[in-house]
């Protein structure tokens, strides 16, 4: 029927993998990776900050695909994916902002700076909070799915526009690590630690997503 042992099993596997990955990542981040020269131990927040935002992007990409999927097929499952991914993505975006703030205070002396990357992330955060607010204010499942799908597509396509506009408006932030070809600034061990944490976060995201979708399915299954 709605819940097969298969999906519950998959969720459990994801959970364990995520836990292992996070543990490995934590060990690497706090123990193995060397202390960074200019910023000190605070720099280790990067191993939380960068994977968080990457995971958020993944989440919002899923929102885009799921929104399109819903409009094409009109099957409620797509909407569950969209809503769940948006919730978790927003959470990770918030985590990105908070960790960025914690990183910024000792490093640049302020809790917040309106530099390009942080600002764009903040705009993305409020966009998806607004998306979640729209979802929260519509009771009828079908109508909620329809309107959220349209908003989800618009919000996702707006992200590159936000990025470019904010970037041209202001640039202070470090050049993006990991997604630039061979940053000279980052030695091998740093990249390994970052990579492991990224994988761990992605597994965590997948686990949370699976759990959230299941909760959504169960709460809707109680209705005729």
């Amino acid at each position: 029927m709605w819940f097969s042992t298969g999906s519950r099993g998959l969720t459990r596997v994801l959970g364990w993998l995520a836990a292992l990955g996070l543990l490995a990542g934590l060990v690497l981040a706090l123990g193995v990776a060397p202390r960074e020269v200019s910023q000190g131990n605070v720099q280790r927040i990067m191993y939380l900050h960068v994977p968080s935002i990457l995971t958020a992007y993944l989440a919002f990409a899923i929102v885009l695909v799921a929104s399109l999927g819903y409009l094409v097929s009109r099957r409620q499952a797509w909407d569950r994916w969209a809503g769940s991914a948006a919730e978790i993505g927003t959470l990770f975006t918030g985590l990105t902002l908070a960790s960025g703030s914690l990183w910024g205070k000792p490093t640049w002396g302020t809790w917040w700076t309106w530099d390009a990357r942080l600002t764009a992330t903040a705009v993305m955060f409020v966009t998806y909070v607004a998306y979640l607010m729209l979802r929260g204010m519509i009771d009828e499942a079908e109508r909620r799915a329809q309107l959220a799908a349209v908003l989800g597509i618009l919000a996702a396509l707006n992200i590159p526009l936000v990025h470019f506009s904010v970037l041209w408006w202001r640039t202070l932030h470090q050049p993006p690590t990991l997604l630039r070809p061979v940053p000279a600034a980052l030695a091998g061990i740093f990249r390994l630690t970052l990579g492991v944490n990224w994988v761990a976060f992605t597994l965590l995201f997948a686990y949370l997503l699976a759990k959230r979708i299941r909760v959504g399915r169960l709460s809707e299954a109680g209705l005729p």
Partner: protein, 225 residues
């Protein structure tokens, strides 16, 4: 052609009713005047400080009045209980989007023209030299606001707390438009050539294409479900 006629009759209906009732336009004109006072009081009598902020204030004014005006896009349908009529009229629903958009554009441009006039008077600005460039930037920015605003107005028309949800949805999406228009307006008011802000103008143009495309393609889902 039928599409155009249908969009046209909708714009005609809205403009005719607005012309007769004059509720929205008058209120927005007056709101523009009040905002001028607000800006003056908030940023003090210091002329330098105000001068530096003018492009931003201009667009703050446009956006705030835009929020009020765009939020009322379907107020006529609500007050007269005609929303179902829009759905029942056979034909592509995107014509309704285009018609409502046209009406909103005219409304917003009228209010913005008054705003510019008031800005010129109260802040002693000479806008005449900058007019062509200004017209282009204002045109692109207004289209960007109205394209999304019209869609969101339909989206929130029957949602709880729509007066609060509408601005909450619109403002984050409009960040690129706000940034682009303010920077471009700054350049225009300083007498710089438009070429220096070509990248902003291109961004605004691309944004408009995206917003209009989504609006046209998804309006029937938003209106009808």
């Amino acid at each position: 052609m039928r599409f155009v006629r249908r969009a046209w009759i909708l714009a005609w209906k809205d403009l005719t009713i607005e012309w007769r009732a004059k509720e929205t336009l008058n209120s927005l004109f007056f709101f523009a005047l009040l905002l001028i006072f607000l800006f003056q009081f908030a940023l003090g009598p210091d002329r330098e400080r105000l001068s530096a902020a003018l492009p931003g204030l201009l667009w703050l004014g446009f956006i705030l009045s835009g929020l009020l005006g765009l939020g009322r896009t379907f107020a006529g349908e609500r007050d007269n209980d005609c929303w179902d009529g829009l759905r029942l009229a056979p034909g592509e629903k995107s014509a309704i989007y285009v018609g409502k958009l046209a009406g909103n554009l005219l409304l917003m441009l009228a209010v913005e023209a008054i705003f510019l006039l008031l800005f010129g008077v109260f802040f002693d600005l000479d806008l005449v030299a900058a007019l062509p460039g200004l017209a282009l930037v204002v045109g692109l920015g207004t289209l960007g606001l109205a394209a999304v605003g019209t869609l969101f107005a339909a989206m929130t028309a029957h949602v709880r707390a729509r007066e609060l949800l509408f601005p909450v949805l619109l403002l984050p999406v409009e960040v690129p438009v706000l940034l682009g228009t303010v920077k471009a307006t700054e350049a225009v008011l300083l007498g710089e050539p438009l070429g220096s802000v070509a990248h902003w103008l291109k961004l605004l143009a691309v944004a408009n294409v995206i917003y209009l495309t989504i609006g046209v393609l998804t309006f029937d889902v938003v209106l009808d479900g």
